[in-house]
């Protein structure tokens, strides 16, 4: 394993990776995936990519082209310093000023947070991925080059374009899961600092991974969804989903669109409509069966709850959040209910809480709560025995650690899964591990980034899933269900299962929460969950 010896290495050995993982030295997984030499080969970065882009480690997320002239080099350094200064300005960064300064000033560099970080742990404790490694570089740059303080006070570092470019890359080696922050005895938050580095890169320098900016928030703001779906396409797709769901359930449904004065505006992550149509179909089935007054919106952005700005850019974030609220206002709904998407939950409920005012300040509710209340009301006739298979629950960080929504999803599972079939992961709830797709990773797959994420970020989750099912037969015919009530987490879990071939080899399947409810509904034809690999 190659790793940096020091924080000061960040600007050294240009063009060379600072860290490299030897996959055969990684901690083996639990059975039946415990033979490390039977794991898929870690795809290597191409020479052309190493030639063209700034190199940090085994992969590339951001695609920062190596500067060709001194001017380009200076632009990187000066842009970074200028952005860093703006992070300390009330005007430019009132959004995060206090938490940011707190984390900049009060880290004791005690390494308490290191054990909490799944990436650092799965990397075999490679120094590059230590939560505080990138924070320390940012801090030293700030104190030495912005505050002009003596390096004896805060530590030394050389500043060159390589340092800056690598630091930006390194901010995309963190899931922003904030597990590290939970353990910090002082209250410093390395995840926040990763996000603030991403903000400098995006908001000041215009440097962002394409998947989350150009193909993400920009596309969403331009055409209505990061999936590229326009209002017309989304309506067509939902019509198709209604038909397909009716065929599977035996219950005719018609998803309402743009119903003015409805009680609820339901906003899905549009990825569900494209990749997991059974999820919006299941929501419609449950909401209709419960007799709720609800609607989807066909206004651009109103049918896609994603808000990638939460990972990298406060302005992009605010643009999408305000648009969501404006659509709800136009429809005159009483509340917005967020579908199974963790970051959409956090974005619109918690972060946008300090953005939306006046008639845009429309209450937001988690679908975990809406669904739990439907179950509690007793309006659905449920037969738990239809879910007679082992189920484990993945807790999306955004729902649990960052919003405190922990019990409703468990109450639902209690109501729809037979006793003894549910097994918690360890740890779970607010101490959960990220699926590995957090902070945009689930949708990032340039070069060999997907491989990196499976080996480094998703591996801990896969380990947890396997451990949760250890007392079950791992025969592929014995199906096991990983319930992930979040679109991004679901995508990531699908990708890990595919990478390790865990459906074929161990019968590990995945899906959302509302699907489990519909699968248990007595009025629905049996077999809503079809156990087909999609």
């Amino acid at each position: 394993m190659k790793q940096p010896n020091s924080v000061k290495d960040m600007g050294k050995n240009p063009g060379e990776p600072l860290a490299q993982i030897n996959q055969y030295e990684q901690i083996p997984l639990p059975p039946p995936f415990d033979k490390i030499d039977e794991e898929p080969e870690f795809a290597q970065l191409s020479d052309a990519a190493r030639e063209k882009y700034v190199v940090l480690d085994d992969t590339i997320a951001v695609n920062i082209e190596k500067p060709k002239t001194k001017e380009e080099e200076d632009k990187l350094v000066n842009g970074f310093l200028s952005g860093l200064e703006k992070l300390f300005s009330v005007d430019d960064n009132w959004t995060f000023l206090q938490p940011f300064e707190m984390s900049m000033e009060h880290c004791a560099k005690c390494h308490t947070c290191s054990d909490a970080c799944p990436i650092f742990q799965e990397s075999g404790e490679n120094e590059l991925y230590r939560p505080v490694y990138r924070s320390e570089i940012l801090r030293r740059i700030y104190f030495k080059y912005v505050k002009k303080a003596s390096p004896s006070l805060h530590g030394d570092i050389d500043l060159n374009w390589e340092t800056v470019a690598r630091l930006i890359e390194l901010s995309y080696r963190c899931n922003l899961c904030r597990r590290c922050a939970q353990t910090c005895p002082i209250g410093a938050d390395n995840a926040l600092l990763s996000r603030e580095i991403r903000k400098i890169a995006s908001m000041e320098m215009g440097i962002v991974p394409k998947e989350i900016h150009d193909d993400g928030s920009v596309l969403q703001l331009r055409v209505g969804s990061s999936t590229g779906m326009t209002p017309m396409i989304v309506k067509d797709n939902i019509e198709f989903i209604d038909e397909d769901t009716a065929e599977r359930t035996g219950i005719t449904i018609e998803t309402p669109f743009d119903k003015v004065g409805a009680d609820i505006l339901l906003i899905h992550n549009a990825g569900e409509i494209m990749a997991w149509p059974e999820n919006p179909g299941a929501f419609a089935t449950v909401f209709e069966a419960a007799g709720l007054s609800w609607t989807l919106s066909s206004d651009a952005i109103g049918y896609d709850g994603i808000n990638y700005g939460v990972w990298y850019d406060d302005v992009q974030f605010a643009r999408v959040a305000v648009r969501h609220a404006a659509i709800a206002k136009k429809l005159g709904v009483r509340k917005i209910v967020l579908g199974e998407c963790g970051h959409a939950h956090k974005a619109l409920t918690v972060i946008a809480d300090k953005v939306l005012t006046g008639d845009l300040n429309i209450p937001r509710e988690s679908s975990m709560v809406t669904l739990r209340d439907i179950i509690r009301s007793g309006v659905l006739k449920l037969d738990k025995s239809r879910n007679d298979f082992p189920v484990t629950l993945h807790d999306p960080c955004n729902l649990v650690r960052l919003m405190g929504i922990v019990s409703p999803q468990r109450e639902i599972i209690d109501a729809v899964v037979p006793e003894g079939r549910f097994r918690e992961m360890a740890p779970h709830g607010v101490e959960n591990y990220c699926c590995g797709g957090g902070s945009g990773f689930a949708i990032m797959s340039g070069h060999n980034f997907k491989d990196w994420r499976h080996r480094m970020t998703g591996r801990r989750k896969f380990r947890q899933i396997l451990n949760a099912f250890q007392d079950e037969s791992m025969d592929p015919s014995h199906m096991k269900y990983v319930c992930a009530p979040c679109s991004n987490c679901k995508g990531q879990i699908r990708d890990i299962i595919t990478y390790y071939d865990a459906f074929e080899k161990a019968g590990i399947y995945y899906g959302g929460l509302v699907e489990l409810i519909v699968n248990a509904m007595v009025d629905v034809k049996p077999g809503f969950i079809d156990w087909e690999w999609h």
């Binding site: 924080v7 308490t112 995006s202």
Partner: protein
Amino acid sequence: MMTTFAYVVAYLGLVFFLIACIARFMMWSKMPMHVRWELYPVAHEGGGKAAYGGSYLEDTEWWTKKREVSLFGELKVMVPEILFLVALREHNKKLWTRSFPFHFGLYLVGGVTALMLAGGLVVGYLPENIAAPVAKIVNLVAPFLGGAGLVLGIIGAIGLFMRRRSRALRDYTAPADLFNLVFFIAAFGVSLVSLVVYDRDFSMVTTFITNLVTFDLAPVGAGPAGLLLTLSVVLLALLTAYIPTTHMSHFIGKYFAYHSIRWSDEPNLAGGRQEGTIQELLSRPVTWSAPHIGADGKKSWLDVTLEDQTK
């Protein structure tokens, strides 16, 4: 002459400490409202939710309900955290075995100093029948707790110094971090020697402190005893003044880290008192330079947010 110097430095040290702490406190409290960035478990969540990390967002139509905020829940977490550094004990035992004696020693020294200051005020300004028993209690308690505090502080600081020099932490250690610990060891060490050699019953130091609060700058101790007392007072006073100017002021920051960030979950309810502040913040100018922001230094957050992005 020497003791007069000690009095002056002690006054300056205490005054500087207070001013710097207040300034630091004001700095944190004057910061603008930020977006919510809470981290669960949030200790004040009521209804048994704090135990598993739940929040009011789990409640049906939470915005229609009165939020249950439990001060007791906060104290249940805060007090053991401050006294015993629970988070560190749970997540970093190795460091805790050094950091806990250091911090606890510091609390004892600080506590005993405060006790002697209070005792000094009683002795200096209240009638003899009240002052005498108070002085007795102070004289009884101070040597024991003060001595224990100094010893624990020194042991902890040496442990922390060695840990900072260890392979694991060395690279993350600035010279100032080592200096801070040496400063503690020196100030506490000199005080301990002074007390053990010349002032085992703390009579000199209590007299000094009583004089300090009654503004009677009479010399205390003579010869090497006075000299050592002066040296220890000067070092402790300088250390006291120095602490809030460094990252060791985290004892102030930590309050805000918890109350204004980690546990700050108060929702902005429609028509509530937060909305005005938010509108003011949204009207502030943006100067971020990336082209997609579309800022020109005059446009506000609201302007750039509402700009048409469909083109």
